[in-house]
Each structure stands twice: as C-alpha cells, then as structure tokens.
Symmetry: C2
DNA sequence: ATTGGCTGTTAATCTATATTAAGAAATAAA
DNA sequence: TTTATTTCTTAATATAGATTAACAGCCAAT
C-alpha cells in the first residue's frame, strides 16, 4: 500500500517498488504537538519535512515583532527553511506547528545521496521546486499589482479548504495585511454583495 | 575555449567535453535590438534564454497600465516566462530587451531530452531553480517586512553593478514603488547622511 | 462559575506610499 | 543645433492600509 509520500512523488515520476523502498527508508518519522517551534532562525535546519497529518507554517518576525507568514503546509505538502536546507547555512525562518502533526523528515545529505542513487527522485524535486518557483513569482507580482482585496479573493480560490481550519489573522498575515484591516476589508466585501 | 554558458554550468556540475558539446548544440543563438518585446502574455513561450550580452527584463502590466518588474537579466543570467516554459501554457509575462542583446535559446522539449541524456544538466537546473526559489522567497518576505528604503538598500548591495546602466524608474518598479516616491526617498537618504 | 488568554470587530487617528501635475534635465532623433 | 522624447524632480493632495485602543465573544483552565 502506497503512503501519501510515494503517492505524491508518483504524480511526477514513476518508481519501481525497489526505488520506493530506497526512498521511503531515507525518511525518518516524527510527530509534534501544536505550538511546537520546529525551526527557528539560527538553527542548522538541513532537512525538509513532508507533512502526513496536521498543519505547519513558515514565517519571519520583523523588527516590530510582526509575523509574516511565507507558507502553510497541510498533508501532502513540503515545508522547510529552504535557505538553510539548500545552502547548509543557519536558518532564517521560523517553522511551527499549528495543529498536531506527523511528518517525514529528509536530511539534505540523504537527499543528495538519493539523487545519485535514484535519478528519478532528483527529477521529482526539480519539478517540485519549479512549481514552487512559479507560485512564488506570481505571489511577488500579486503583492505589487493587486489590492489586498484582490489578493484575498485569489487566496480563497487557491486554498478554499484551508480557510475554515485557520484563524483569520493568519490569512491576513499570509496575504500581507494587519488583522484589523483584514477584518474591515471582509465586512466591506460582505456589504458590497 | 569555454563560453559563458558552459562556464556557468560548470560552477555547479562538471561536464566532459562530449557532454559540453551535446548541451551547447541544443541551444540556438539569437540577437535582439533594444526595445524588442521577445515574449508577451498569451505567447507560447516554451523556451528559456541564457544571456550572453545586453540586458533584458521580465514584467507584468496591471489594469492601470503600471509596469511591475519581476527580474533583470544580464550576461550569465537566465530569463524566461517560467510559467509558460514549465507548464507549456501561454505566457503571463512580458520579456523585453533593455540593451541590444545576444542570447542562447533552449526549447523546453530539448531541455527535457537533455535531462535524460545528460543527467548532470538536470542537476544543474535543479540547483539553479533552487537558488532562484530562495531568492524569490526572500523577496516576498522583504516586500512584507521591509520599508521601501530598506528594500532599496538591499538592492544596492545585491546588484551594485547593474545600477548605473539602468534608468532609476526601473529600480523603483523592481522594488515596488512609483518613480516619484523613489525619487523623493533617494533625496531623503542623501539628506540623512 | 470565574479567570485569563486568545481571537475578531469597530472606530479614530496616523503614515507610508500613490496620484496628479508641472517643470527641469538628460538623451536621442532629426 | 534644434526638436522631440524620455527620465527625473518637486510639491500638493489623496488613499490604502497601519496603529492604537477599547470592547465583545469564545474557549480552556482553574
């Protein structure tokens, strides 16, 4: 029986069952309680998580103490401090747990070993990273070209499922406005319709 | 003698001279005059450029007609409509020529053929995309957490060379402010010091 | 039941940045 | 050189969104 990880990988490359074993064995399993900070700036976070259950988020805290959310990770998604994971330098982000979670952990050094052993996995990560890059480019342009309202509507379309299990101030942080303004904006939207 | 492209690739993977030939032959060469629009939204832009000479930029135009610059590409850099290149769908960006340029063109289908033929090239593009992703993530956070002034100072540090050969309104567009505000901001910075 | 801590709302005020406009300076074209 | 076009600056005004503050609702812990 295929687990979520292999199911996920097989969306982009097809693996033999030996390859599946090799890959799966490179991951370690872990569980964390809600509110656990699993990565913080300065950590040597040379690994990435694949989420099996629960929700995590990655974010920074600026000089005023304001949180800016970079990403949410629900089951089937990856989350890491990409900077630390890819460069081997200390982390720049926080990653914490919003709902009790189970994750699979892949160390960078194991990933690199696997890339040579199973080139199809390197292909998978290339495609994953490519898709991630496109999404991030679009987000940059959206932040420059769209109003908060328009960004919110895009968010609704893109993540309709995640909305109800998420305090709305987190959505505000993700789209880049304060919770107060977000609240006002939402009631404006309701009044309009 | 190695050209700029092979030099660039060899920063991340080492190629035999046969591999170098295979790769180099997959590219087509082209030259464009300044102001040429080489990609526009709707185009089937299933290729990427490697810049040998000159400067290009990628951008969108919003409903008000305002330009938002996503990237500049100088010699040694890549530029494409990543969305069209990677998904095979119509382009969403403009790419145009800021200074007469020579580029090498790689079609997506040739890239995919090469990835199988020369796995090291797939590795190179994986790494390239990874680095690009990190930079884009940081840019998202910078736009949310930093003031325009701070973003400008980061830009100065990151691209000190490109600044003098670039109309400053393009820098304004890249960091996400109007040229008028950018001008004011710059004179404020001077007064401070 | 009561306390305390999150979360969401509303409203007043404030600020960074946008918009509009008009002239100056620089570049390119003729 | 003169003209035209693009770029830069300055200043007045406008606005999207931030800040501050006060309160209400909700849920978990005591």
């Amino acid at each position: 029986m295929k687990n979520l990880l292999l199911q996920n990988i097989s969306k982009h490359v097809s693996l033999t069952s030996e390859e599946e074993d090799i890959i799966f064995n490179a991951f370690e399993k872990a569980s964390f309680k809600a509110k656990t900070i699993v990565i913080k700036p300065g950590d040597e976070a040379h690994f990435t998580y694949f989420v099996l259950k629960g929700i995590l988020r990655s974010y920074t805290i600026d000089d005023n103490g304001t949180i800016h959310i970079l990403s949410f990770a629900t089951p089937g998604w990856w989350v890491a401090d990409m900077y630390s994971y890819l460069t081997g330098k200390p982390a720049v982000l926080y990653v914490d747990v919003m709902e009790d979670c189970d994750v699979l952990i892949l160390q960078r050094c194991d990933a690199e070993r696997l890339f040579t052993e199973v080139p199809k996995l390197e292909r998978f990560f290339r495609i994953l990273t490519e898709n991630n890059l496109i999404a991030n480019q679009q987000r940059i342009l959206d932040k420059m070209a769209l109003t908060a309202e328009e960004r919110y509507e895009k968010f609704l379309q893109k993540y309709p499922d995640i909305i109800n299990c998420l305090p709305q101030k987190y959505i505000a942080s993700f789209i880049g406005v304060t919770p107060e303004f977000f609240s006002k904006m939402k009631s404006n939207l309701l009044r309009k319709k």
